[in-house]
């Protein structure tokens, strides 16, 4: 028989329900995210050369170091590396042109971690996506460098001498003139138009004629670069679909974003025909898919309820389309994310109030 006393003494260990756990944790979540990023990132590396790897290495390592230092200053103990931060750092690294000076990723990372994340209270507290905040800041600080994307020649034809540019300081941007005007960004856009390389314009001229007023040089992260960008974006698309399939991210925001862009494109042709070229340009010419799958599904800054996520995606998609088509701002994605981030708490709050009221009404009917 069992000795009752020992049984009592031993079984009074403090435990609490639930006694089962799904085993899901943030490490596994970010592992999935990194695996999903791999095809797109590797293709970027292949087409744009080692600059991509250098940028990502700088953003990740410096990001973790900055977070550690700021946590130390705030006397917060952090267990292990902040896995969510690694994903954001990789996204930022991919968004910075590979040929840009290393000063740019360094400044971007510090802005991302310090201003974008830690200043708000760290994990789970920041209202805007830190990588997009950093990207916007870089775009204002180093606008010419941030828009100077090299040709996607592939690693085999890579001109290794251009790597020397990375250690140089960026050329000063003549923003002094621009600032005296009412809309400096318009001036910026005009400058960029005139300074765009001739061969790139030629390469994209067929797209330009198809899209009319869409300015490919300023609309997105990249100039529309044809096949390489298509492949890179297909890499990101496959990663994003994998994330949706494994439920690592919620499908609502990406699907709503892509659907609303499709809707806007159809609207531009009056639903008469499918604007294939326009759609291709929107989806595959820039970093739309990267942002759609990895940024609109970011945990803290985007909506969390199902309905909220759908609306979040719609807001993002529509704002991206309108900024790209008729905006004066040289970048659509980051601004659209920040605008959608602004709406996220309200979207969540509204869906919460709606459901709680419904429950209260049902309860009132019962009594």
């Amino acid at each position: 028989m069992i000795d009752a006393n020992t049984a009592n003494a031993e079984s009074s260990r403090v435990t609490h329900s639930p006694f089962l756990h799904s085993g899901y944790n943030s490490e596994r979540w970010s592992q999935q995210q990194m695996v999903a990023l791999l095809p797109g990132a590797l293709l970027s590396l292949w087409f744009f050369g080692p600059g991509v790897a250098i940028n990502i290495a700088i953003t990740v390592v410096l990001g973790l170091l900055t977070a550690r230092a700021l946590n130390g200053m705030a006397r917060q103990t952090s267990k292990g590396a902040d896995t969510n931060l690694i994903i954001m750092a990789i996204v930022l690294g991919l968004a910075i042109p590979p040929g840009a000076s290393i000063l740019i990723p360094v400044v971007g990372t510090v802005v991302m971690v310090a201003l974008g994340k830690q200043l708000w209270g760290g994990t789970g507290q920041y209202p805007f996506h830190p990588a997009m905040v950093a990207y916007l800041a870089l775009l204002l600080l180093f606008s010419d460098q941030m828009l100077a994307w090299p040709e996607a020649n592939g690693l085999l034809q890579f001109d290794w001498s251009t790597l020397a540019n990375k250690v140089l300081l960026p050329n000063p941007v003549p923003l002094v003139d621009g600032l005296s005007q009412a809309t400096p960004l318009l001036d910026l856009q005009a400058q960029l138009d005139s300074s765009a390389p001739q061969d790139l314009l030629a390469a994209t001229s067929n797209l330009n004629t198809a899209t009319g007023n869409l300015n490919t040089a300023t609309g997105t992260f990249y100039t529309a670069a044809g096949l390489p960008m298509l492949l890179i974006n297909l890499g990101f698309l496959s990663g994003g679909l994998y994330l949706c399939y494994t439920r690592a991210i919620a499908w609502q925001a990406p699907v709503a974003a892509l659907a609303s862009i499709l809707f806007c494109c159809l609207l531009s042709t009056g639903f008469l025909s499918l604007p294939g070229e326009l759609l291709g340009l929107h989806l595959f010419a820039g970093h739309l898919l990267l942002v759609t799958f990895w940024v609109t599904t970011e945990l803290s800054s985007s909506a969390k309820t199902a309905r909220g996520r759908l609306l979040f995606g719609v807001i993002f998609g529509c704002v991206v389309y309108f900024i790209r088509q008729s905006g004066a701002v040289p970048d659509g994605l980051a601004s659209a994310i920040i605008i959608a981030n602004l709406a996220a708490p309200l979207l969540d709050h509204r869906s919460r109030v709606a459901s709680a009221t419904a429950a209260a009404q049902a309860a009132a009917e019962d009594t």
Binding site: A4, R13, T15, S26, T123, K304, S355
Partner: protein, 541 residues
Amino acid sequence: MLFGRRHSIPNKLRLSKVTGGIQIPSRKELSLRSRIMPTPLPAQLIIPLQQVGADSAIPVVAVGDTVRKYALLAGSESDAVVPVFAPASGTVIALHQQHITVAANRQASIECLVLQTDTGGDESLALSGHDYRQLSPEDLCSLLASAGIIDTETASKDTQSLATLLTEARKTNVELLVINGIESDPYMSSEAAIAREYAEAVIQGAAILQVATGATRCAIAISANQQESRAALQSALSGSSIELIAAPDQYPAHDLGLVIGGLTRSTPATVNHGVNQGVLGLAMHTALAASERISNGKPCTSRITTITGMATQTPKNFCVPLGTPVKHLLALCGARDIAATTVVSQSALNGYAMQSLDEPIAQWHAGFIASAEDELANPQEPEPCIQCGHCITVCPRPLQPNQLLALTIKRDWQQLQQSGLADCIECGACAYVCPSHLPLLQTFRAGREELQLRQHGMQRSNYWQQRFNAHQTREAQEKTQQLEAQRLRKEQANAKAEPGFSRQQARSEIADAVARVKARRLASDKAATGTGKSGHSGEEQ
């Protein structure tokens, strides 16, 4: 129903997946391998005289009495008391207070009766059954009410005596009676075992309860993945009007509120025990006990309980006499090294770890998990919330656990009430998926308890406020009445008394008096002129 509004219950009863919910790998097959086993009697039975949610029964036996099986041990005339019967023949050796865990985070000191069981054989009272078709609903109700049956929701969130439920059901017109045999906990299998082995009795019990409650329709709900139990019920149900509902394989599909919400296709509101939206939900155990009571005359003295977990060698379901200590059953299952095992009661998701294995088994105990070393997850150090929103996705209610957690920690009770903490069913799905291992379930339990206390306090303070206000108004009324009465009295007194002072009258009176005095003086002067005129005139001169 109360306002003459009929709830719409669809003709075809169907349970589809609720929004949210989680899939947990089932471990029911551990205990479903063997059939339900009758328990060899332990040396002593510890029988609590008070059931959860009821008043304490008054013992009708004294220490030293010998009792036979099914004899009444304690009871009362009151409806709020559940009578207690002897699960075995034996001698009453003690009556004392004992600490018993009654809910996940609550222990209560309950009066218990200790019965030394007979070693020779079990001597029972001679009982006779009835055919329920020949009994009136009233007779059925009174027979069932005196059987000491407690209806327990599967996860033991809520228990209530069958007598109370029947009274309530007869007051409100019940449209549908649901026998809830859904068990979504990954370990517990008592209801599946009952359906598999006592399908006939369960169906008879359902029919009895349908007559007793006067429900127009009756259905039995069971988990879709319990193939054997479904098949057994299906074959036993042929030709019966009772319907069979298959519930989706999902946690927490067992929750009565979700079942009723799903069947009536309405928003699942927080459901209390009793009739909700024209539906009465009862446990499968209740149906079995009701059938035993009517067909065989037996009061409720046992229940089917699961003993499972990797620490046991032969996990199975037992037909346990109430009052059997948990460790007796664990020993029967060949639990190894029981000193080092954590024994979890009720559910792996929202149950609780047993503090003492000497505790007796009561009607609300669905089962016990004796876990091996690495079988159950140990609580881990919580990390900050990363706002992933998984808890919102899995919550079976339209709640946002991440927000509720922050609000509970802030103790913002007003906001919590608005955000629907009261709607939480404490299923633990949010804590199961939380990647940061936040103690969501425990926090909500504590928060809900405090919220209830506060609401109770608020009700009490409102009551006293009302009484105070009533007192104030009464006093004010009395005062005005007093003043009114005073005024009336005065008027009456004035009306009776002489007319009061009047200036004119006084003047005329004074004038009269002066005139009289003048007249008198004139008269006396005239008289004086006759006698002393000279003297007077001499003086004058």
